[in-house]
């Protein structure tokens, strides 16, 4: 009896969490006449394919919209931001964990807290800053601003990660004759490659998900990122192309979901400040 209740509850949660995605899937491949039937018509079941599925929305998305361009823009920003974040956050995290002593922990926490300052507070001064720099309506604005979100969290991630890597290996290297700098350059990278990987993945997910700054700084359709373009620009007049829209949403969600599943434990360690052993 308990077993049945368990499965029922699990099913309930899965349905609640997942039905929008199923709906995305169905909408992406339904023919328009199967799709645009008023919901008050109970004789037509929207949850299933009443007509055979079609690729017309996907073709529209890939061929007649700026979606491919948005994907490209997003990738450019992702790579740039990931590079900047790794270059800045990894040494900083290492420094705070190993080199700066007791107040390193406090500083690290201070840096982490800046992650909590929301885009919806900072976008006002940022818009002024972006105008000053002449970066309005450009990917450069995003490349400049996104690291303000990734660097704090990733510095904290690297710090936490290094806390769990025993530093006897580095001490051994120093006894063996390497200078501190040489130890950092030679030995440390191999130890924190998983940490670096997590940083890259986090940057990737953050850029893909970010909406507020993109909305604030980008106005031209051909400069948009996926997260911005799909909900804002896949519309002709007042009419949303729901089929293409849902297809875009689906294609973007799947890789993200796969990545999240793989890295979930690391992220949680970061969020709970190591209070929970992953």
């Amino acid at each position: 009896m308990k077993r049945v209740a368990l499965y029922a509850a699990a099913l309930g949660f899965v349905v609640f969490a997942g039905f929008p995605f199923y709906w995305m899937l169905v909408t992406s491949f339904k023919q328009n006449r199967d799709l645009y039937v008023g919901a008050s018509d109970l004789s037509h079941i929207p949850w299933i394919f009443n007509d055979p599925p079609t690729l017309e929305h996907v073709k529209l998305l890939l061929g007649q919209t700026d979606f491919p361009r948005w994907v490209l823009n997003t990738l450019v920003v992702v790579v740039a931001v990931a590079v900047i974040t790794v270059a800045v956050a990894v040494p900083a995290g290492y420094s705070l964990a190993r080199l700066v002593g007791r107040w390193g922990e406090r500083m690290g926490m201070g840096i982490f807290f800046t992650y909590l300052i929301p885009p919806t507070l900072l976008f006002v001064p940022f818009s002024r800053l972006i105008s000053l720099l002449g970066l309005q309506d450009s990917l450069g604005a995003l490349i400049l601003i996104y690291p303000t979100m990734t660097i704090p969290f990733c510095t904290w991630l690297v710090m936490g990660f290094l806390r769990s890597v025993p530093w006897e290996i580095e001490e051994q290297a120093m006894i063996d004759g390497y200078s501190r700098l040489a130890v950092i350059l030679k030995v440390a990278p191999r130890l924190i490659v998983p940490g670096i990987l997590t940083v890259v993945v986090f940057s990737f997910t953050l850029v893909l998900q970010e909406f507020v700054y993109a909305l604030t700084f980008i106005s031209s359709v051909n400069k948009m990122t996926v997260s911005l373009g799909v909900p804002i620009a896949l519309v002709r007049g007042d009419v949303y192309h729901w089929g293409a829209l849902m297809a875009a949403a689906l294609f973007t969600s799947i890789p993200l979901a796969i990545i999240y599943n793989a890295f979930i434990d690391r992220f949680i360690q970061g969020f709970t400040m190591g209070a929970v052993k992953g």
């Binding site: 699990a10 949660f13 899965v14 969490a17 997942g18 929008p20 995605f21 709906w23 645009y36 919901a39 929207p46 800045v88 900083a92 420094s95 500083m107 807290f113 909590l116 300052i117 929301p118 885009p119 919806t120 507070l121 900072l122 976008f123 006002v124 001064p125 940022f126 002024r128 400049l144 601003i145 690291p147 303000t148 660097i151 704090p152 510095t155 501190r180 700098l181 040489a182 893909l208 909406f211 507020v212 604030t216 997260s227 909900p231 949303y240 829209l245 969600s253 993200l256 979901a257 990545i259 999240y260 599943n261 979930i264 434990d265 949680i268 709970t272 400040m273 209070a275 929970v276 052993k277």
Partner: protein, 302 residues
């Protein structure tokens, strides 16, 4: 006898440490700290997005928005949405954590699906829900009607109260997976021997849950709630895409109103003033997290 090698720059830990930390500190101070201060200052200015001017305006902006019923409504909505969705999240997450700590067939798949709402970009989830709540084609309405629970019609995004409810649902939906994972991790960090001791001591499921596990989970649940508050209170995407603040400015929350007035309306001063009202949420969160961090350092639970 040879002299020992001199301590070079490459050995000076303090210097190395500072050098490695400097870029991050620079970024944080210059691009977060300064703008943060600026954000507050702008609230006292009459700056606009058009020119690069900055004129002092004192409390003018604040007086204006506090007289503005739309702002007051937005403030109220922010509180309602944040509190409402987080209450839902806590209930859903603790229940889901109980379910997902057990082993069952298909658990991996279930876990994957459970994480989807949090993994998907906010804007894409929001547009999907807009479609789900569409006034003509809402699949929710169809389902409710088909099951016999709905007799009239629900104009989700067209009715102020329903729209707010829709926003709460979407926020709870996208955040509860994250909270569930955190609670699950917290559950697994409770030493197994303590749970077993409770079993041997004769405590049944409910007593164990309420008297032993939940109190020990408090720090973890608090973290989940704090993050949830930040994510919900400061979120712009869900409301912007679902309702745009409408119908007739009835579902604005602070971030969307700040965006509308400050960016779209180019009144940077007013936009900043509105956004400043987000600070109480954030300060509560920061204090909460500091308390928790202190507790875990001192070893509160063990």
């Amino acid at each position: 006898m040879t002299l020992p090698p001199r301590r070079t720059f490459a050995d000076r830990e303090e210097v190395l440490g500072a050098v490695m930390l400097a870029p991050a500190l620079a970024y944080v101070i210059l691009l977060v700290g300064v703008p943060f201060v600026f954000a507050i200052l702008l609230g006292f200015s009459n700056a606009t997005a058009g020119s690069l001017s900055f004129g002092w305006a004192g409390l003018h902006n604040y007086r204006a928005i506090l007289d503005d019923p739309i702002f007051l409504r937005a403030l109220r909505n922010s509180v309602i949405v944040t509190v409402g969705s987080q209450v839902l999240v806590v209930i859903l997450a603790t229940a889901a954590a109980q379910v997902f700590r057990a082993a069952f067939h298909g658990k991996r798949f279930a876990r994957f699906v459970l994480l989807l709402p949090w993994a998907v970009p906010v804007s894409l989830a929001a547009i999907a829900w807009t479609w789900i709540f569409d006034s003509t084609f809402s699949v929710i309405n169809w389902t409710l009607k088909a099951v016999g629970l709905l007799h009239g019609w629900l104009y989700w995004l067209g009715d102020p109260a329903l729209a707010l409810l829709a926003i709460i649902i979407v926020q709870a939906w996208r955040i509860f997976p994250f909270a569930t994972v955190i609670v699950l991790a917290g559950l697994s960090s409770i030493p197994q021997e303590i749970v077993e001791a409770a079993i041997v001591d004769g405590a049944g499921f409910w007593r164990r849950l309420l008297v032993v596990e939940l109190p020990l989970l408090m720090p973890v649940v608090a973290v989940a709630v704090l993050f949830g508050v930040v994510y919900t209170a400061t979120d712009l995407g869900v409301v912007y895409i679902l309702t745009g603040g409408g119908p007739a400015n009835t579902t604005h929350v602070l971030p969307t109103l700040a965006f509308q007035r400050g960016i779209l309306g180019a009144d940077l001063g007013q936009g900043a003033a509105i956004a400043v009202f987000l600070l109480p949420f954030l300060i509560v969160v920061a204090i909460g997290m500091l308390r928790l961090a202190h507790r875990t350092e001192v070893g509160g639970a063990q």
